[in-house]
Amino acid sequence: MNTVEKIIWKLREKSEGGGLDDFLIEVFQRELNGEIGPQWKKEYKSILSNSGYSKRFMEMFFDEINKDSKD
């Protein structure tokens, strides 16, 4: 199990009683694996519209993090 897998496993384990939901864990996983690209950005927008996450969340978690990651 590499570090990313271990991080995700721990996040999931500790979120059993509340905390990160599946969607947020997927965001973390994709971010940790550097898998958030323009195509996924398009997809997550439609996912987000049904997830109850706010637009602000999208701005904060995707646009900003991607920006930081690229920097």
Binding site: T3, L20, F28, G34, P38, S54, R56
Partner: protein, 644 residues
């Protein structure tokens, strides 16, 4: 993951050159590139960086002043492109090639992936995603670095800690935690506890509803009172239905009495008037004969012309004074004036007597006229008296009739019942007015209740929205805490893992295994090496031992990072003393059993003893040779024939 080939076109010293990384030889995947200083060893490191990341972090000040485009090619007048292409083989067996071209302003990125059908070609996004997968820019210094990096490795503890976080991607957790904090802060400030407002609306609504209930109770009481009264009214009306309206009759009687009184007063008044008029008329009647006689005398005198003509003495006096006849306008002659004077004297005499007679006649006429007026007035009064008498008779008659009706019944009881009926009706009207007032109040309160209901609905909607925000707030708060805990745990595990792996690698590679006991890595990533006497001896390590420790540490980091890029080290032996170079070379050979290593060595580093140690295992050997005009370096591949 290993390099297969690196092709360079017009990149700095390399006009058209390439490096072929052969298959591992007897399990050793070590590749040597030997070149004197200035032939472009470091620029090979730069070429890999430029291809992958678009920059050249190891550029010397001299190279930095030169264009990236090859000088030899430029001198021919060609304005071609700069291109570096790195072909790699993944552990899965998939071949992937990264290409960066530059024609001028912008770089063109391409990635080629070999499939059964041939090479598939992708653009920038796939390029960057795959580079990120192999070795992200933030961790490249652990894979492609200058040998000096190893020598000064442990002088930069904080930098190491940061780089470990980056390498292990724990830094992503930091970024996520920071974003979560920002979201929590924003949600916390935007969320508003609406419970007090909602409670207030509910309380106000309840108060109004209680008031409505109270009004309804009071209105109900009044309604009952009204119904009781109406019942009583009905009873009284039943009693009075076939009975004369005593009160009405009494009222009529009272009216008649008042009218009768007024008529009597009026009759007395005009009787008095009539009496006075009759007295006046009687007086005239006594004089009537004398008056007739006077009129007769006057008639006779007038017929006998004994009465002087009616000439105005003032007219005659005016004619005399002006001397002009005011009738014909002629001037009066002397004789005419005398005639007028005589006439005036005669008139003065006869007029005094005549006038007295005329006054008498006038008075007599007036008295006669007055008598006629008195007669007419007396006649009018008499008529009015007749009418009054008639009315009085009518009143008297009606009074008798009323009296007759009332005498037949118990008028007092009727009257009392009627009085009671009127009182009841008044009371009922009061009740109706009060009920109407209550209804209006109720209507106004119900309207307020409706408004409060709407306010409540709106607040509930807002609260629901807030609740969602609050749920997110709770989730993000918990998530942030979890991320923080996970990060601490992961960092602790990483440290332990690195410590364990560093120990394993170090003790596998080190040539003086019996001298050292263990390597300890503290929480802040300071590294301590303990000798067999239990003393920290890191300060007394030789450069080779120090670099080996750093290499062990780096390889340990590779393990925990999950990134599997090859290791490219520029001049790794430059700072290693001669006595340890052979040992260090042996260690690198050991490492190459599990990881592809490309070493960029100077001829001095690739000394005889190092060559003796490495040559039997080298997978490929390249030598860099610069042309005499120093505009181009040629890469020569030498056969890695085992050293004899």
């Amino acid at each position: 993951m290993r390099f297969q080939r690196i092709a360079l076109k017009n990149y700095r010293q390399f006009r058209d050159a390439g490096l072929c990384f052969n298959e591992p030889y007897k399990g050793y995947d070590i590749h040597i590139i030997v070149g004197r200083n200035g032939t472009g060893k470091t620029n090979l490191l730069n070429a890999i960086n430029w291809c992958f990341y678009g920059d050249e972090p190891h550029l010397s000040s001299k190279s930095g002043q030169l264009p990236r485009f090859n000088l030899a090619e430029e001198s021919t007048g060609n304005k071609g492109e700069v291109c570096v292409k790195v072909e790699m083989l993944e552990n899965s067996g998939r071949e992937i090639a990264f290409s960066r071209r530059n024609h001028g302003a912008l770089d063109e990125l391409e990635v080629f992936i070999k499939t059964i059908a041939g090479y598939e070609h992708y653009g920038e996004e796939v390029f960057e995603r795959n580079v990120h997968r192999i070795a992200p820019k933030t961790v490249r210094s652990f894979f492609f670095f200058d040998g000096e990096h190893l020598d000064t490795y442990f002088k930069r503890f904080q930098s190491i800690k940061d780089q470990i976080e980056s390498l292990s991607r724990v830094n992503i957790l930091d970024i996520m935690e920071e974003r979560l904090s920002q979201l929590i802060k924003e949600l916390g400030s935007s969320a508003k506890n609406l419970d007090p407002e909602i409670k207030d609306v509910i309380n106000r609504k309840q108060t109004l509803e209680e008031k409505v209930k109270e009004i309804e109770e009071r209105s109900g009481e009044k309604q009952k009172g009204k119904e009781d009264i109406e019942e009583e009214i009905e009873k009284i009306e039943d009693y009075l239905r076939d009975l004369p309206d005593a009160e009405k009759y009494q009222k009529r009687m009272d009216q008649l009495k008042v009218k009768e009184q007024k008529l009597l007063e009026r009759r007395n008044e005009i009787l008095q008037q009539k009496r006075q008029k009759l007295i006046q008329l009687a007086k005239i009647t006594y004089l009537w004969e004398a008056l007739d006689k006077l009129m007769e005398i006057m008639k006779e005198k007038r017929e006998q012309k004994e009465l002087p003509p009616q000439i105005s003495d003032s007219l005659l006096e005016e004619i005399l004074e002006s001397g002009v006849c005011s009738i014909c306008g002629q001037e009066l002659s002397f004789e005419s004036k005398n005639s007028v004077k005589e006439l005036l004297q005669k008139i003065e005499l006869s007029s005094r007597q005549g006038n007295k007679l005329l006054v008498l006649e006038m008075n007599a006429l007036n008295i006669k006229k007055n008598a006629k007026d008195l007669y007419n007035r007396i006649k009018e009064i008499t008529n009015e008296l007749t009418k009054i008498e008639e009315e009085l008779r009518e009143i008297s008659k009606e009074e008798r009739e009323i009296d007759d009706v009332l005498r037949q019944h118990n008028s007092e009881e009727i009257r009392l019942n009627q009085k009671r009926l009127n009182e009841m009706k008044n009371k009922r009207d009061d009740f109706i007015r009060e009920i109407e007032h209550y209804e209006m109040s109720k209507k106004a309160i119900l309207k307020n209740i409706d408004n409060l209901k709407r306010e409540y609905d709106e607040l509930k909607k807002l609260q629901d929205k807030n609740d969602r925000g609050f749920q997110m707030y709770e989730m993000f708060s918990q998530s942030k805490e979890i991320v923080s805990i996970v990060k601490k745990e992961i960092m602790a595990e990483i440290r332990e893992h690195i410590e364990r792996a560093t120990n394993e690698i170090f003790f596998k590679l080190i040539w003086k295994k019996e001298s050292f006991e263990k390597v300890i890595i503290r929480d802040n990533y300071t590294v301590e090496v303990f000798n067999v006497f239990g003393k920290n001896c890191i300060g007394s390590l030789s450069a080779a031992e120090r670099e080996l420790l750093a290499l062990s540490f780096t390889l340990a980091l590779h393990q925990i990072s999950g990134f599997d890029a090859p290791l490219v080290i520029d001049t790794p032996l430059a700072r290693v003393s001669d006595e340890h170079r052979r040992n260090f070379a042996k260690s690198l050979l050991e490492v190459s059993k599990n990881k592809q290593i490309a070493l960029l060595l100077t001829p001095a580093e690739f000394s005889e003893e190092v060559e003796q140690e490495l040559h039997p295992h080298i997978a490929s050997l390249h030598k860099l040779e610069m042309l005499p005009d120093e505009t181009e370096t040629i890469i020569k591949e030498e056969s890695p024939i085992p050293y004899v």
